[in-house]
């Protein structure tokens, strides 16, 4: 092998970089987020799995529908429970703790929604 002095260190550097997620904070156990669910309410506006994947789409739809199209301010769950189509007055009514609910997953997956650029953050989270 020729040029060992340069090639081997460069190769090790490359392999190290490629596997860096393995070395990165490897000592710390992985923490799965455990969003705190409201105790008093059993039902959300859509099934849990759909809410997990698509709540942001729902929020956007509400915003566009109400603010731009003049849509209804309330909706009904499949079981007939009425709710307010609003982040602050609807969602946050049950999921009142932003830190323990929203942030848990958002921080885990590096999602930074810009909801709170306009909306007032709930007091306990301030």
């Amino acid at each position: 092998m020729y040029g060992k002095g340069r090639i081997i260190p460069a190769l090790i550097l490359f392999l190290g970089l490629m596997t860096s997620p393995i070395w990165y904070k490897s000592g710390e156990a992985s923490k799965m987020p455990k969003p705190e669910k409201p105790k008093d309410y059993k039902e959300c506006v859509a099934p849990t799995q759909e809410m997990r994947t698509s709540h942001m789409v729902l929020l956007n739809e509400w915003r566009d529908d109400i603010l731009r199209e003049g849509g209804a301010r309330t909706g009904k769950t499949p079981n007939g429970t009425e709710y307010i189509r609003s982040l602050q007055n609807g969602c946050m009514k049950c999921h009142s703790d932003k830190k323990k609910f929203c942030d848990a997953c958002h921080n885990y997956t590096s999602v930074k929604p810009y909801c709170w650029d306009c909306h007032l953050q709930p007091k306990e989270a301030m």
Binding site: M32, Q49, T53
Partner: protein
């Protein structure tokens, strides 16, 4: 034939992903076994190839000189294009590897009646190659949010910059669009330009189609079929800590699996020379005068 075969190969990969996701144990195969296998093959193949190259000596200093050499003190040397110091060689290599400098020189020749030859500037290949590679890099780095915990600051910064137009939810990334446009350009260029089509091999179309497939499935997963990001991270981060878990029923099945199948195909595909470029021992532009 040259396009059809790789196209069928990519479709076949997608089909395998589709089927395997429904079969018992298939998710574990594609989500856990194949990723490890593919990654190991990629790293092993990369190192093997570099070592294979390194086994041959470099007896002669034969770089192409692209500027005035170091000569008389009053003649201005082109220190980058005809370097005489290590520093110059490194500068030349960095510009070549990171900015595709030779490609930037590209011209287009035409023959007219006379015969008269005309040369025009032609920088599209350079532009789209740069866009392709750098948006690819940003996309890969962005994905580190799924492989690292806590998430490093640069990943968050990249995500913020990439989505700064704040269109839609989940937010739209510019690099996704640029990436697709660049692959489309590179692919169409191969198909439309008669001389490039003439020289192209299945091995040239395959990676383009495969990468295109990965990009499209990835985008569908984010915007259309809605994957459960937390469950995905549980798996992907689990892979890096050697404790992978597939959360039952939570991973939006089909397209996550599709993406997996495709991305593995990509990793299994022989280490692409593009990566090899990053070796500081790049082929011709290396030697000190």
């Amino acid at each position: 034939m040259r396009i059809l075969t790789p196209f069928i190969a990519v479709l076949a990969l997608i089909a395998v992903g589709l089927v395997a996701a429904q079969v018992p144990g298939g998710q574990a195969l594609i989500g856990i076994v194949l990723p490890y296998l593919a990654f190991a093959l990629f790293l092993g193949g990369f190192a093997y190839r570099v070592m294979q190259w390194a086994k041959s000596p470099v007896p002669f200093r034969i770089p192409t000189t692209c500027g005035q050499a170091n000569s008389l003190p009053w003649i201005k040397q082109n220190k980058i294009d005809c370097p005489s110091t290590k520093l110059g060689v490194i500068a030349r290599m960095i510009l070549e590897v990171f900015l595709f400098r030779s490609l930037f020189r590209n011209t287009k020749a035409e023959v007219h009646e006379g015969p008269k030859l005309v040369y025009g500037s032609s920088k599209f290949l350079w532009l789209f190659a740069i866009l392709f590679h750098y948006s690819f890099l940003v996309i890969v780095l962005r994905h580190m949010r799924l492989f690292m915990d806590p998430i490093p600051g640069f990943v968050a910064a990249l995500e913020f910059g990439d989505g700064f137009m704040q269109i839609g939810a989940p937010v739209f990334y510019q690099t996704n669009a640029i990436f697709l446009a660049a692959i489309a350009f590179l692919f169409l260029r191969r198909v439309m330009l008669s001389n490039i089509r003439y020289i192209s091999l299945p091995a040239d179309y395959f990676p383009l189609l495969l990468i295109f497939g990965i990009a499209v499935t990835g985008i569908l997963m984010r915007y259309v079929f809605r994957a459960d990001v937390v469950a995905i991270k549980q798996l992907t981060h689990g892979l890096t800590t050697f404790a992978p878990t597939i959360a039952a029923g939570q991973i939006s099945p089909i397209f996550f699996i599709l993406q997996q199948a495709d991305a593995h195909g990509r990793c299994l595909h022989e280490p692409h020379p593009e990566h090899d470029q990053q070796q500081p021992d790049g082929p011709a532009h290396q030697s000190v005068e």
